[in-house]
């Protein structure tokens, strides 16, 4: 089947920043994203887990965006503005997609 080159950006960020991030992505021309829940993790700011938590303060989410390569720069800039002062990770992978007209 015909596939097309694209970039997959994954951003792990605090749950409280969710709408700020997705608003920024939409502004940067991103047409779609998928949010995955995160159970726990570890980084420079220590280890954490969602078990038994009530507050949104402690949790993180994973936002994945698949975009055309030419939009990458704008997306990263937008993401960086939000992530800059916050903990979290941004990674980019090359991928191929079906139905490229959707991106």
């Amino acid at each position: 089947m015909e596939t097309h080159k694209a970039k997959r950006v994954e951003i792990t960020i605090e749950a409280v920043m969710e709408t700020r991030l997705t608003d920024a992505l939409v502004k940067a021309g991103v047409t779609g994203f998928t949010i995955l829940p995160v159970l726990g993790g570890s980084g420079r700011s220590g280890q954490w887990s969602r078990e038994g938590q009530v507050s949104r303060a402690g949790g993180m989410i994973n936002v994945a965006c698949i975009i055309r390569p030419e939009k990458l720069e704008a997306l990263l800039k937008a993401a960086f503005t939000v992530v800059e002062r916050h903990i979290g990770v941004v990674s980019v992978t090359d991928c191929e997609v079906l139905r490229a007209e959707r991106f």
Partner: protein, 329 residues
């Protein structure tokens, strides 16, 4: 003193405290006992729903008077003033940076609704009633402390303000955070439907309440214990002392306010508890947005690991004894 000790002893062997201790101990023993996030959130919705509704129904039964407005005003002022005291104490007693100190201070100006619920349940066991609108006071005390803390940061360090701090989005998030909306919403609905409404749902929100609170405190114990275990290296003596001293100072201000307002014994005790308690839901979330540079381990460990257990076990009986002594209740 004897009274306090006997009250504390009696308090300590109540199921709710013991389940908190169980959770705490299980966390320290690294047991894998845990409450699913969704269940913990469900129980917290239940508690807010129940406490708000019962408060509203009680206001409906007893009528509103001027004290309501003055009490809310007092709560707002306390919530705004307490962070300043906390900030100064922290800068003197501990080596925290201005940002960390301000973030912690915000927590102590704001309130912990579970501590409030636990205090209400102690009141009930003691056969004391209190003003139903104290629930509204609790809600009113959530936000002002955050503004105070952000102001403190802006003053202490102009630079830290850039790129973050308060914006319209954050203000809406704070004022309309889920807990406040549910608490106030249930309070109003309780007020509208009154005793008749309460009767309809009493076997949901009244009779099983204590049991749900036990399970919820088990979870709080687990979370607090785990947090304390992982972050005990942060707990320098100065910080620890602050975590115990600050609620006592807060309660004194609440005590004064309660007496000035002419509240009932139960009302004074709840006002003390609110002032003494430290937020662990709304304020941490706001701090992550507004002051991401502040270390969350510090404020969560202090609020949830030190001050919450202190209030639950020793604080509440002390506040009750003082309120009784002063009001003759």
């Amino acid at each position: 003193m004897d009274l306090i000790l006997s009250l504390a002893a009696q308090n300590l062997i109540s199921p709710i405290i013991l389940f908190f201790v169980l959770g705490f101990a299980a966390a320290f023993a690294r047991s894998d006992l845990s409450v699913p996030e969704a269940v913990a959130k469900g129980m917290s919705l239940y508690l807010l729903f129940a406490i708000g509704f019962k408060g509203g129904a009680s206001v409906a039964a007893n009528g509103i008077d001027q004290t309501l407005i003055f009490s809310i005003l007092a709560g707002v002022i306390l919530s705004f003033v307490l962070p300043f005291i906390a900030f100064v104490l922290l800068r003197v007693m501990t080596g925290l940076t201005a940002i960390d100190a301000a973030a912690v201070a915000a927590h102590y100006g704001s309130i912990s609704i579970v501590t409030f619920v636990a205090a209400s349940s102690v009141l009930q066991t003691a056969g004391l009633v209190s003003e139903g609108y104290m629930v509204a006071v609790a809600a009113a005390m959530e936000a002002p402390a955050i503004l105070a803390a952000l102001w403190l940061v802006a003053r202490a360090d102009a630079k830290a303000g850039q790129g973050g701090g308060m914006d319209a989005g954050l203000l809406r998030e704070i004022l309309l955070n889920g807990s406040i909306v549910l608490l106030i919403g249930s309070f109003i609905i309780g007020g509208i439907t009154g005793q008749e409404g309460l009767e309809k749902i009493a076997s949901f929100i009244v009779s099983p309440f204590q049991g749900v609170l036990c399970l919820f405190l088990l979870d709080m114990g687990l979370v607090a214990g785990r947090g304390l275990r992982d972050a005990r290296h942060l707990l320098k003596p100065g910080l620890f002392a602050f975590g115990v001293l600050m609620p006592l100072i807060g309660s004194c201000l609440g005590f004064g306010a309660g007496l000035l307002l002419g509240l009932s014994t139960g009302g004074v005790m709840l006002m003390m508890t609110l002032s003494a308690s430290a937020s662990y839901i709304a304020v941490p979330a706001a701090m992550r947005v507004a002051l991401p540079e502040a270390n969350p381990s510090i404020y969560l460990t202090l609020s949830l690991g030190i001050t919450f257990p202190f209030n639950l076990t020793l604080g509440i009986p002390i506040y009750l004894a003082l309120a009784r002594a002063a009001t003759g209740g």
